[in-house]
């Protein structure tokens, strides 16, 4: 009996410990502050946007990719709080659902949001769940603006799905173009995760573009999600004499690669993409190793424009950490949808979103997002415009890490 009790306690402790890994964000409560009185008011004819929009977010809030999902949810929450506090008669009710970075769970989460009465979706955060959900949303006619799912197949053939982030081909080819234009290297090594859609996607487009430009790729090595030792990959890059290592990967393996390169005294240039963003916030990582690392990202937290400053300040105050690019994407998603609705309202003499069905809202938002006159400003870029395929057009920024902070190049 004692043994059983002990095992029960141990099991309980293990469960607690595992729950600790799921991130310490507070459960996202739907924001229902103020403005209840405005519900049900008809379009006033003065071009104003009124009513309450039910906005859903789907992303990994638990599991290995939780850091991205939580960042997006937190960023979106900041935007929603701001919009609701502004008191313009337009409010957003936010609900976030967990998908554990799994396509099946993501479709479940999407259906859960539908039962809640969702009108538009800012999601999903990760790529392969997003492809599954966008197919469902396309048949159901629900508008989707994904903050960070970057594969082209997310938007391909679906007129109701738009991306706020760069698509993979843009990232890969933009990186190759940037390296070529700035003559950063002649011999390039690539280390990528061949078990990850994001990483492989960028690798393929980078390689194609690099061949076209005549960049010499001297080493291509791969790893999978559970790799913790990168001596082979880094060693291969070193022995082939690469003077730049391209890392189209997330920041956790990137930090290990930097450490490995440092330990064997190999110091090429490192070039990353938006997944690298966040490398400075890893606990226990010596940020001096990341010195001189370049990355292509739409957002840098130390930009000095008012929008970014305001966002970073609020985010840091509320969540106690500097927002990553994912948080910024989430923040921009909420504002882009609001901007689109305002654009429509101004053109059509007012709009009350409360009683609109998801289908009606979907058609409205598609018409606005594909309107060449429409553009949205956000912390990840000014004057973002979308093409009919749903891909965003904005300037990528290259930043370099200097003295432990991102500095624009």
């Amino acid at each position: 009996m004692k043994k059983k009790l002990l095992s029960l306690i141990l099991a309980g402790a293990m469960v607690m410990a595992m729950a600790g890994c799921t991130g310490n964000t507070e459960p996202t409560t739907p924001a229902t502050s103020g403005a209840e009185g405005t519900e049900g008011t008809a379009a006033t004819g003065d071009g104003a946007l009124t009513g309450t929009l039910k906005l859903g977010v789907i992303g990994p809030l638990t599991g290995g990719a939780a850091i991205y999902g939580n960042a997006v949810v937190n960023g979106t929450q900041i935007a929603v709080d701001e919009i609701n506090a502004a008191g313009t008669g337009f409010t957003i009710e936010l609900q976030a659902q967990d998908d554990e970075h799994d396509a099946e769970k993501s479709v479940n989460a999407y259906h859960q949001l539908q039962d809640w009465g969702v009108q538009a979706i800012a999601g999903t955060v990760t790529t392969s769940p997003c492809i599954a959900v966008s197919a469902e949303a396309n048949t159901d006619r629900v508008f989707m603006l994904t903050p960070s799912a970057s594969a082209t197949s997310v938007t391909e053939g679906k007129d109701n799905v738009f991306q706020l982030c760069f698509a993979d081909p843009n990232q890969g080819s933009a990186s190759a173009q940037y390296i070529y234009d700035n003559k950063l290297a002649t011999k390039v090594a690539i280390i990528y995760n061949n078990a990850d859609a994001y990483s492989t996607g960028i690798y393929q487009t980078f390689k194609a573009k690099a061949e076209e430009l005549g960049l010499e790729i001297v080493s291509e090595t791969t790893f999978t999600d559970d790799t913790t030792d990168f001596s082979v990959q880094v060693g291969d890059a070193q022995s082939s004499g690469a003077d730049l290592v391209f890392l189209p990967i997330y920041y956790t393996p990137a930090s290990l690669i930097l450490k490995q390169a440092d330990s064997i005294g190999y110091a090429p240039e490192f070039f990353g993409v938006d997944g690298m963003d966040g490398i400075l916030t890893i606990e226990g990582f010596d940020t001096s190793l990341a010195e001189g690392v370049m990355l292509l990202t739409p957002f840098s937290a130390d930009a000095t424009d008012d929008l970014t400053k305001n966002f970073v300040e609020k985010f840091t105050e509320k969540y106690g950490e500097v927002p990553s690019q994912f948080a910024a994407d989430g923040y921009d998603c909420a504002y882009a949808i609001k901007a689109a609705l305002e654009f429509y309202a101004a053109k059509n003499g007012g709009l009350d979103v409360t009683d609109l069905s998801a289908e009606e809202l979907c058609e409205i938002l598609i018409s606005v997002f594909t309107d060449p006159e429409f553009s949205a400003d956000g912390v990840t870029g000014l004057g973002m415009v979308w093409d009919v395929n749903g891909q965003v057009n904005k300037e990528p920024k290259a930043v370099v890490i200097k003295d432990g902070v991102y500095v624009g190049m």
């Binding site: 396509a103 479940n108 539908q114 392969s128 599954a132 469902e136 492989t200 996607g201 393929q204």
Partner: protein, 353 residues
């Protein structure tokens, strides 16, 4: 007389299972057609049926054949990706015929995979066998991670390093793109098809278990040496159970894959194998009814727990631990048994009066 009684309980049990599946189908089909079902549950019906098939097919290996297999999701993924290739190359056929052909081809390919893996694996016993099946599950996942499949007017192209190696014509389309998996899958699975498949597989398994072959498999499970001395070949019968189980997992994978528009190899990792094993263990090893119910409940449970938000998976884990403790508690089990015995006695006494 005794034999007759035994046979009739076995077939009674079998018909109970058919009844459960048909009831499950009728209830949810009526709910769907009358629109009284939440879209959350409606979207889960096909995956539930697939997981039920997975659970009963694994139960054939774990419960009937007595071998702990930790790589069952590998066969599911073989079936799933086969179905993706078959259905994409049959774009001119109707949905129903594409689905049927996909399921059959998926089951055959998965059976071949099961047979090939069975050759080395089934020479082992107990823990060693479990570890090797785990390894093969991971190997399948990693092979699929490197697999590129494309299709053009000349036919299907395969490559193992990158999509450029597919050497397709300009009109070619990449169906399976390595770790990015398959996208643009035809969504042709239906709840009816999934239920029919579940019923067919249930019929096959139950008749297999109650046949001469099934008894041989169980005899080898219970005492290998005694069975061998009777002239039964352990390798042959274990291989049969393992291959049939793999084929069924492949069929489940086909229906599963054709329900989503995208599929990544990573989905079918160790965790999915364990999930299916949990259905089997929780439902009772060797107990098909239990497997079906456990699969249904445990697939829906995480969705019902969404109101706990971040603590959802924590609650899920606690529920699992509690169920395991309760069902394994001898005292509690004894109490339940005596309760039923008393009830039966009372009833039979009442019947005699």
């Amino acid at each position: 007389m005794k034999i007759f009684e035994k046979a009739s309980t076995a077939s009674k049990k079998a018909f109970l299972n058919y009844g459960i599946v048909i009831l499950f189908f009728v209830i949810f089909q009526t709910l769907v057609s009358t629109g009284n079902i939440s879209s959350a549950l409606k979207g889960q019906l096909i995956p539930i049926a697939c997981y039920m098939i997975m659970a009963i097919s694994l139960n054939l290996v774990v419960g009937i054949s007595g071998e702990l297999s930790l790589g069952h999701a590998g066969f599911m993924s073989v079936g799933a990706f086969t179905a993706v290739i078959v259905s994409s190359s049959m774009t001119n056929s109707s949905d129903v015929s594409s689905l049927i052909v996909s399921i059959i081809v998926a089951a055959v390919i998965a059976a071949v995979a099961g047979f090939l893996i069975g050759i080395p694996v089934l020479r082992l016993n107990g823990d060693y066998l479990a570890i090797v099946t785990l390894a093969f599950g991971e190997i399948i996942k990693n092979i699929l991670n490197c697999l590129y499949v494309g299709i053009d007017e000349k036919g299907v192209h395969f490559a193992f390093n990158n999509p450029a190696a597919l050497a397709m014509s300009a009109t070619g389309k990449v169906i399976i793109n390595g770790p990015m998996g398959a996208v643009g899958i035809r969504k042709i699975s239906t709840f009816i098809a999934a239920t029919i498949l579940l019923l067919i597989i249930l019929i096959v398994i139950q008749n297999l278990v109650n046949s001469r072959t099934g008894r041989a498999i169980m005899a080898i499970r219970d005492n290998r040496i005694a069975a061998e001395s009777m002239g039964l070949s352990p390798m042959k019968y274990k291989m049969l159970a393992f291959t049939v189980s793999a084929a069924m997992a492949g069929a489940a994978g086909a229906v599963y894959a054709l329900n989503y528009s995208t599929l990544v190899p990573k989905k079918f990792d160790f965790n999915t194998s364990i999930l299916v094993l949990v259905f089997v263990v929780l439902g009772g090893i060797g107990n098909m009814t239990g497997s079906i119910i456990a699969a249904g409940v445990l697939v829906v449970l995480p969705e019902l727990l969404r109101k706990f938000s971040d603590y959802r998976m924590l609650v899920y884990a606690i529920v699992l631990i509690l169920v395991m403790l309760v069902t394994n508690n001898e005292k509690l089990k004894g109490k339940i048994d005596t309760f039923f015995k008393k009830l039966r006695m009372k009833l039979s006494k009442g019947g005699r009066k």
